[in-house]
Point group: C2
Chain length 478, copies 2
Amino acid sequence: MADKKLVEAITSMEDDFAQWYTDVVKKAELMDYTSVKGCMVFKPAGYAIWELIQKQMDERFKETGVENVYLPMFIPESLLNKEKDHVEGFAPEVAWVTHGGLNPLQERMCVRPTSETLFCDFYKNDIQSYRDLPKVYNQWCSVVRWEKETRPFLRSREFLWQEGHTAHATAEDAEARTIQMLNLYAEFCEEVLAIPVVKGRKTDKEKFAGAEATYTIEALMHDGKALQSGTSHNFGDGFAKAFGIQFTDKDNTLKYVHQTSWGTTTRLIGAMIMVHGDNSGLVLPPKVAPVQVMIVPIQQKKEGVLDKAYELKSRLLAKGCRVKVDDTDKSPGWKFSEQEMRGIPVRVEIGPKDIEAGKCVLARRDNGEKIECALDAIEETVTKLLDTIQTDMLDKARAHREAHTYVAKNMDEMRKILDTTPGFVKAMWCEDQACEDKIKEEMAATSRCMPFEQEKLSDTCVCCGKPAKKMVYWGRAY
Amino acid sequence: MADKKLVEAITSMEDDFAQWYTDVVKKAELMDYTSVKGCMVFKPAGYAIWELIQKQMDERFKETGVENVYLPMFIPESLLNKEKDHVEGFAPEVAWVTHGGLNPLQERMCVRPTSETLFCDFYKNDIQSYRDLPKVYNQWCSVVRWEKETRPFLRSREFLWQEGHTAHATAEDAEARTIQMLNLYAEFCEEVLAIPVVKGRKTDKEKFAGAEATYTIEALMHDGKALQSGTSHNFGDGFAKAFGIQFTDKDNTLKYVHQTSWGTTTRLIGAMIMVHGDNSGLVLPPKVAPVQVMIVPIQQKKEGVLDKAYELKSRLLAKGCRVKVDDTDKSPGWKFSEQEMRGIPVRVEIGPKDIEAGKCVLARRDNGEKIECALDAIEETVTKLLDTIQTDMLDKARAHREAHTYVAKNMDEMRKILDTTPGFVKAMWCEDQACEDKIKEEMAATSRCMPFEQEKLSDTCVCCGKPAKKMVYWGRAY
């Protein structure tokens, strides 16, 4: 049985979800605060999750022709200023470098909050002809936005992300890439992170500074709040005109390129915690669990127990499992609690009696189930179990989201839902920003997206009662 | 035969080695200048090499128990100031952030030039007991040093690197880790980059700001100049005392930890270019070549040629080769030149006659040799050939280094060697910094290291004639 002390160290999610979240982040040793205000440290257990996300997302990128590059972290002020909407969106929240060594700079530079302007400056020289297109570049790096309030993984002054920046010969190609990457993100969230998402388009109010269209994937957290989990932007030729990015087309005329950008961040780790976690701590989907199987020997000082544990470890390693033996001198109960707190998907319990009987016990982290397993069959049983857990976690998250997606026909209905059973609220909208503003002001909910899968819930806008044009997902959000 | 036009686009290395280097970097599309002064862009071909270096070095790190983390990119000024020697070494060359958003900061922060101070600040809280030791953390990131003169890969204001930072219970453990990582770097350079290195200790004049001892690996470039290719530092307990990093040991007393740090950078790519490159361009060792095999179809419009090329590609891919077909509409000669410029280790030439004869031609990039290969045997022939090239490149580089390592007994001999046949100069030294200063002033050569493999070349210092204490490698360096 798991030791209670470690579990008692975290607040229950029903009592205080925000505190539960912070407790899990700290007790699972994912991240910690630093003396650099607003910046966090990724500890080994947290960074290892990011590495697994990077590896699997990068493989998917490369299958679609993405090439990785690295551009400078600094943006000269004059460059940031070139696209009007973009600079208005970002200038208030950038960090400014004003001195290099002992001397003031002639022109100050900001630390990149995002790199559209740098990619444009680069593409301007790198693209000459239609033969140079498309450019489908991406970089993995950190960016800086001077946030006032910060929360681990969700919002910090510096965060890790990937940012893709592409240039295309036609508007159609740019739109196709924008949607392709949104679909890639959605599949990644479902297949790797076991998080179901709603795909849709942002309203004009919520779109990216400088974009013609922003598409988003929206996930629902356990507490009923929404989390924007990835975005993909179509810039049209707006940036190309501001930066003068032209190419000679097949017909020998000079044309502006069409551009996109798309990004996901370490927020995805926050999403995973808040979708799958429980009152014993983290619950990791097997595909991103740095340790998938923890073998806990029982009565490990008895002859043969540790040897058998190491043997099982080698056999599972050989099958490609990420597996460890906890052979420290802590009690089994404490080891169980630690494995649960860290979200390790499968625990193998093996003691002298088990060995005698040629079996062991497998404990699932996601639902607590215990399974007896013949030692002879451990490889196939565990690998199958990891697949099952991955699938079951997605199903469970999807069921939760479906149970917490509601329909509102008027403002009272919407308010009641948000105040009593928070979740996604589907409601019709007239496309007037005044209604969006009013909903935000009155109930602190924002339009999450206009989903690709539109429904006609009623004829009138949930807010003003005028004819409705779009079905929108609304919610309170992180 | 290769087309001459592309080759003519680069300066020959005998005419102007520095220009040859810049030409290769640009024509092989590894890197380019940006409008951010002193900062470069890593283009896909350059970044892909770095990804292969990262992957293979990171695997080696993890085998020795290294865990990856990520710490903030900013260092508050008060933190940088805590260790006296360290701040003196770095303060003159950091970039300062003075404003966040629209407001001046209360305390300015620099962009990390290296992260000892941040790791110390983190370890101070994270380490309590001997059970928490050792900490063997590493991060892959970029750092900023406000250099005045910059050169692609070798020196730029922002560069990519890894920095390991460890904390240990005893001085012996710290020294062992310092040497372990130096050895890991040396093996990596030889086995992966095919670059032989000299391992040794830096003199006090050349050691890292704040270190008790700095160890280095030094490589010799084709032009006879030295390149410091990786360093490993033992800090003793100096930083621990400055930052108050203490732990309770087994004997229940409070002790200071002993620390190390070690780093390698994208310089390694510069080293590879300057060790292996030739007048046709880049020459990449197979283990870090993003494309190892380029298949060039001859008369590709003839029936069956492209199909056969794609078939060979699939068969090589299945064996784990990184392989491409150049099926563009360029001439074969131009394709040959491009493959050579980009340093792709093996070219497969396949045309209608070859297909009829059931063979193809393999051309080695490293020595130009052409080999006839039966199509049936292409998998084993190519994989074996890649191994052979990897080994031969190391042998060739080692032979070059040995041919360019000299002995000098006095200043005249040293000067003559450096002016006529540049290379490493082995010479005895009295350990007085005045002699080091004099050699640097008179012949622009620095002490590269005091090699682990000491020899007694004579009894007296090469400079002052007093009794010698150490054999030193001297050289002009990048």
